[in-house]
Symmetry: C2
Subunit: 449 residues, 2 copies
């Protein structure tokens, strides 16, 4: 697909310019974007109203789910939130250009490992148009170019937002407009997933189905998670108040999200002492329990669980309940049926907690705390790019630093490898003060000359 | 392929046991391996002699390249090197279990980001049987299981080495033998690349063709590089002695490897002042120069370059030479024709160096130093797992830390998300002393109880 290749080439070229810019240039461009969006709010909202009118009609015809329509809305506080989001991204520290390690290899031969933008991000998201601005601004802040594919329902809103975004970048005179590009059709999205020569990372934002289908159709690394099948395990040494608090919050505080618990495991020694009160509290919170035969004996209002309940992601006020013989069985069950997202143990026994924290193979493993804490904001990461259940690059809630990699910079004085070896020079490998690399900052350069 | 799935499942199960083991247990197991290899040296060498005899016959029949035969040899110092390598891996610090970040989210709610093994590594390598032991020991040290596929020529040597390795693990009683498994056929290797449900990372070690074909046939992340097309750029402000030293070492010190230079770019202002002496030094080192028309004027013995010389990987005493009008042109050329491995600038102008270091999109970008320094040993990384030109997870020479990811551990006292928000509790997000997580170490636990 020639058009997509052209888009990807332009994105790559823009990313190389961006990678050379200092933080201040990127922040200035994002400030231009914020100003432009504020000034052209009516134009964006007019486009949004057309999307919403069409979505309303589609809902009436039964062709669109009502919640999708609601997420389209950019009016009032939604638009303010977009502007606030931009201001927050401007305030965040630049994740690129940070010296992670500095080593003196030999006299006058200095090695620095410095964070650097990844390059070109392919972002595929569903209806919410505010997500387009958020992810584009995170890309620019971290020095990456982004190719965005939004939902069809939000086509006009996305087009209006990204047109304003690109014009403001162009006006900045520093960040190329092609650092943010919008594509529209499914065919283009499919073509994007094949462009592993130019696109370095795919970020899907949307339903499990979207993420799963993207993971299955690309060789480009994907930052995301398809499932959030989280478990809470009540250990033999679980105390009652902590059990009630952690389980009810994990399940019922906001059940529609990936970090809500879907499964409750109970050690048989806690079956009669802890589970009845936990079950009653869950039922008071409106939770339907689907339990195995042993658990049902102490949960009279529960329904019988079937095989399909183990590993199910309800995203609703439903919880699978299962009795286990041991800590080992709980760990094995979670590693087998869970989605490696976030799992919690409730126990007063530090040894059991230690085993669980070490051996559960999930992005987040919690002790006496609700699974709902698995979130970039709550972790203090600043902005959340997504939650990853991958085992390479980034795992768990991912902040801006998930959008950078590093490169090695070596500063010498004519050093050659042939001078090292037995009977010749040898390496020092001493730690160096990372601030010695300050000369690399373009601002510093401007002062110098 | 049921057998491969069985192997992968066993590897995953072993990896989960390994992930829960303390450093001392892994080191004890590796010491057992070293002892067993030392004791059973003759058995391994007997297998190796059969491989070598067959390889010799294959070379005579013209069915195998002679260098491949040579790399099979495990006799004498080669076997000692395998044993020394094991001792070195035992001495290396454990990359897993390191607290990378610690944050107090609220009173009694402590978040730790801790390095953790990736899981199951699929390692596909060519003839050298010593590589089997090295990569298996690096996997164990970092807490990962490994499925190894070696070259057909080394089948008996690999089988003997890995049999000894597995028996020693089993004898250790701590690391499961299935943490290291060997597969033999191409069909099994193909099946391995499809098992993205269990295999977390593929590490190819061998020719460019091997790496390229693996990258093209798997969705599992690949740690490696297909090409090493490195350039040296002689800037307008390049001085002569540094130019000669860096260019000759980059090209001729060891031309058969990925970090040797394949292309020399020369600013037109250095064409007459610097290039003639650099060219003469290269020719004295036996290098054939393939130059563009302008460079040929000052390089009388050079051959004309054709389009296919730009971006070529010779791995031999051949160098492409090209004149550029500007620093920008040099950077653009490298980003377009290079392989994002390692590139160097020679200049006395800090501003030009800065531009080059910031804007060249390669794993290593060097100033006044030979590209041949791009190497895990020279960088001081301890052991090199491979060199990566990927843009996610790990880039450049990768040490043991490329074999770990992290997980988040949250330690609470019954904390629930429902207690936070406007008018309720708010997060503290204060840095914490990482050593507070010491209770997680199993050794500490043993003392406690």
């Amino acid at each position: 697909m020639d058009r997509m290749e052209e888009i990807a080439r332009k994105a790559k070229a823009a990313s190389l310019v961006l990678a050379g810019l200092p933080t201040a240039s990127k922040d200035r461009a994002l400030s231009e974007v914020r100003k432009a969006l504020e000034a052209r709010r009516e134009e964006v909202l007019a486009a949004n109203r057309i999307d919403r009118a069409e979505a309303r009609a589609a809902v009436e015809r039964g062709e669109l789910a009502a919640p999708l329509q609601k997420r389209l809305d950019l009016e009032g506080d939604k638009f303010e939130a977009v502007l606030r989001g931009l201001s927050e991204v401007i305030r965040l520290p630049d994740p690129a250009g940070r010296v992670e390690r500095a080593t003196l290899l030999d006299d006058g031969l200095e090695l620095y490992r410095v964070t650097a933008p990844i390059g070109v991000l392919g972002v595929i998201f569903e209806s919410r148009p505010d997500a387009a601005v958020q992810i584009a601004s995170l890309a620019i802040k971290s020095g990456n170019a982004a190719i965005l594919k939004g939902g069809r329902e939000a086509a006009r809103s996305n087009a209006a937002l990204i047109a304003v975004f690109r014009e403001a970048l162009a006006k900045s005179g520093e960040v190329p407009a092609d650092a943010v590009q919008l594509i529209e059709t499914r065919e283009e999205a499919r073509a994007l997933l094949a462009l592993d020569r130019w696109v370095d990372l795919i970020i899907p934002r949307g339903s499990n189905e979207l993420v799963r289908s993207i993971k299955e159709s690309t060789r480009i690394p994907v930052l995301g998670h398809a499932d959030g099948v989280c478990s809470v395990y009540l250990d033999a040494a679980a105390d009652l108040p902590t059990s009630v608090k952690v389980v009810v919050d994990s399940k019922a505080q906001y059940p529609a999200v990936c970090n809500a618990a879907e499964c409750l495991l109970v050690h048989r020694q806690a079956l009669e002492t802890v589970l009845p009160a936990v079950g009653a509290a869950l039922e008071r919170a409106g939770v339907e329990l689907r339990a195995d035969p042993r658990a049902r004996k102490v949960l009279p209002r529960s329904k019988p669980a079937s095989e399909s309940d183990w590993g199910a992601e309800y995203l609703d006020l439903v919880l699978a309940v299962r009795v286990v013989e041991s800590l080992d069985e709980a760990i094995d069950f979670i590693n087998r049926y869970g989605s490696h997202h976030t799992d919690a143990i409730v126990t007063q026994d530090p040894k059991a907690a230690r085993e669980f924290l070490r051996r559960v193979d999930s992005a987040g493993v919690f002790h006496n705390a609700s699974t709902r804490f698995a979130d970039g904001y709550r972790y203090g990461l600043g902005a959340e790019v997504g939650i990853s259940t991958q085992k390479t690059h980034a795992r768990g809630p991912v902040g801006l630093e998930g959008l950078v990699i590093y490169k090695y910079l070596l500063q010498g004085k004519g050093h050659a490898v042939g001078d090292y070896g037995p009977g010749k020079r040898s390496f020092l490998h001493q730690p160096l003060d990372p601030s010695r690399l300050a000369w690399l900052e373009p601002e510093a350069g401007a002062e110098e000359s």
